[in-house]
């Protein structure tokens, strides 16, 4: 029989096992879709720019209520002192207007909340113009089209990147460790099987799995939230393959010497956790201090997410993501090199 028969059988074996494990199907398909659904619903409020502003009853600020009332972006409430105080503290309200020490108005807000800045400017402007302040420059506002700029549009490519990472690590790392623990690897090594075929089969099976995994996510995001791919499918495919290859290599490194599935689970989680936080899956990497930025942009998941968003959201061509692809290729080469060096069969 030809060389490829063994490679084909090893790859088929791996795929069969993957599709016959209900747990695997849950983590690969159901979990990321459930995550997208939950986050999509939570963050796609139909009036996302509505601020809750509280005015303390009986304070000097109450005089300005007519200026604020009826504005589409403000939900106004007049509350007693204690209730007003607690609304701000619990985050229900963004702005609290109350009395100042001298007869003026005090505006209180939490500066660490992202929406505070916008709300503060809006409230200030409405109160000032309502009280008769002049507007020397006329500015006309134009609203951009809704889709393509929402949180869910930004989130979906990040979840795809997250999935490429976790499936790569778990599907390769966990399976190989289990096979070593059950002495299946030893049994295979006792045959004339080429060891490279076994490792290559893990990679091929992982790639074959993409055919089901990525369309499921893309189609779900499109049907449920109208998230569209702005760039070309070909470019997206290249980025996805680069990401999958990189994290398959990470999976092989993770399981290169582990004897038990508990041990490999620990290693995989210690790779996933920091990468998820640092690589812009749920929130932008721009939130980290400038000193960390050069470091963060070289992380594999950050590069992958950056490239995915460039194609998915911004419709950029492959040349625009070349830098990210080089970073991913570097990690891929390094991880496969280490995995082949460290790998133990028994």
């Amino acid at each position: 029989m030809g060389e490829f028969v063994a490679l084909r059988e090893l790859t088929l074996t791996r795929l069969r096992i993957m599709f016959r494990e209900p747990e695997v199907l849950f983590w690969v398909f159901a979990f990321p879709i459930a995550l997208a659904l939950g986050l999509g619903i939570a963050f796609s409020d139909p009036t996302p720019s509505e601020f809750r502003v509280v005015v303390e009853r009986g304070s000097a600020a109450e005089a300005h209520v007519p200026s604020l009332e009826g504005h589409p972006e403000i939900r106004l409430e007049i509350l007693d002192g204690v209730e007003a105080e607690s609304a701000l503290r619990t985050g229900d309200a963004v702005i609290l207007l109350t009395d100042g020490a001298d007869e003026g108005v005090v505006m209180r807000y939490d500066p660490t909340r992202a929406e505070s800045r916008g709300a503060r400017l809006l409230v200030d402007q409405l109160v000032q113009t309502g009280a008769g302040a002049p507007r020397p420059v006329t500015i006309r506002e134009v609203e951009e089209g809704e889709e393509g700029r929402r949180y869910i549009d930004w989130l979906i490519p990040g979840l795809i990147g997250f999935n490429l990472m976790s499936t790569g690590l778990w599907s390769v790392g966990y399976f190989v460790t289990q096979a070593r623990q059950n002495l299946q690897l030893k049994r295979l090594v006792a045959t004339p099987m080429r060891r490279s075929h076994f490792l290559l089969a893990q990679v091929l099976a992982r790639f074959a799995f993409l055919i089901a995994e990525i369309p499921a996510m893309v189609i779900f995001a499109w049907l449920a939230f109208g998230v569209r791919i702005e760039g070309s499918l070909f470019t997206l495919g290249v980025v996805v393959l680069a990401g999958a290859a990189c994290f398959t290599g990470f999976g092989l490194v993770a399981c290169s010497r582990t004897r038990t599935t508990e041990a490999v689970s620990g290693i995989i989680n210690s790779i996933i956790m920091p990468l998820v936080v640092l690589s812009g899956v749920f929130f932008s990497t721009a939130r980290f201090p400038d000193e960390l930025q050069p470091f963060i942009q070289f992380l594999p998941l950050a590069a992958l997410n950056d490239a995915l968003r460039a194609v998915y959201n911004d419709g950029l061509p492959i040349t625009a993501v070349a830098g990210d692809l080089v970073i991913l290729a570097g990690w891929t080469v390094l991880s496969f090199f280490l995995a082949l060096r460290w790998f133990r069969w028994q």
Binding site: V5, A6, L12, T13, A190, P192
Partner: protein, 319 residues
Amino acid sequence: MPRSTFDDPREEDDDPAILCRGLRKRYRETVAVRRVDLRIRKGECFGLLGPNGAGKTTTVEILEGLTPPDDGEVRLLGMRWDRDARRIRPRLGIQLQEAELTQRQRVEEAIRLFRSFYADGPTVNELIEQVQLQEKRRTYVKDLSGGQRQRLSVACALAGRPDILFLDEPTTGLDPQSRRAVWEIIEEFKEGGGTVLLTTHFMDEAERLADRVAIMDHGEILVQGTPSELIHSLGGAHVIEFEPTVPLQTADLMELPGVQTFHTRGALCFLTSDEPHRALPALVSLLAEEGGEFASLTTHRATLDDVFLARTGRQLRDG
């Protein structure tokens, strides 16, 4: 005294299937294999017999090229692991003691996978028939019985039509019917001219399948030869096993007519004899003279277990 087995004429065979000399292997504190020499000729079924922890598995895994020895040399079909591994592998069939097959794999899928590693061999269907798993071909490994799983494991070992078949405790944990089914597969392979190295701690398995056996204990080979040679080395074909209520003198027992040897294990006494019809009445009258009785008394044909017992004072299955 048992006859030396090193003057066996077959030792002259200069083209053995398996040859090893001076094997040694130590794991940290424990010495697993102390000094093992084996010469197994082509077409022979050789049984490595011994209790758990005797070093059987380590010896076999060294021969299989899965464990490097600390010292000693190995030749399989005249080839060496360090130079000819690529040429040796396709000619071996290996069944490991504790290795599992993938649980969610069907019987035919597992066999097809192992078959794909070899350039030549029987078809998948032939292998399935050989181990009588036709009705289970679409069944998942996890749903097979212990005996079916073991037969599947042997089928995977036969996938490359090997010259040498290694079987490590192939029937441990199986019911009698399943054991016989595995034995029949091994016998069929022998009839085809294949060489078998079998480890076991069942003396009946060794007596039935093995042309020659070596008995191992504490990493060393105590004795080797054909099962009947080893049993004859006891000095009598029958064993009288008894427990007297009063102590008896060894010298008195050895003087009884028809008694060849005497040894004890705890309170139990063992006499070997070729003529139990003479030895037994004499034993009864000796005990009566000493004023004692039998707390227990049985006789049986001598087995390899008795050989092990005579050598070590323990039984094979004591572990």
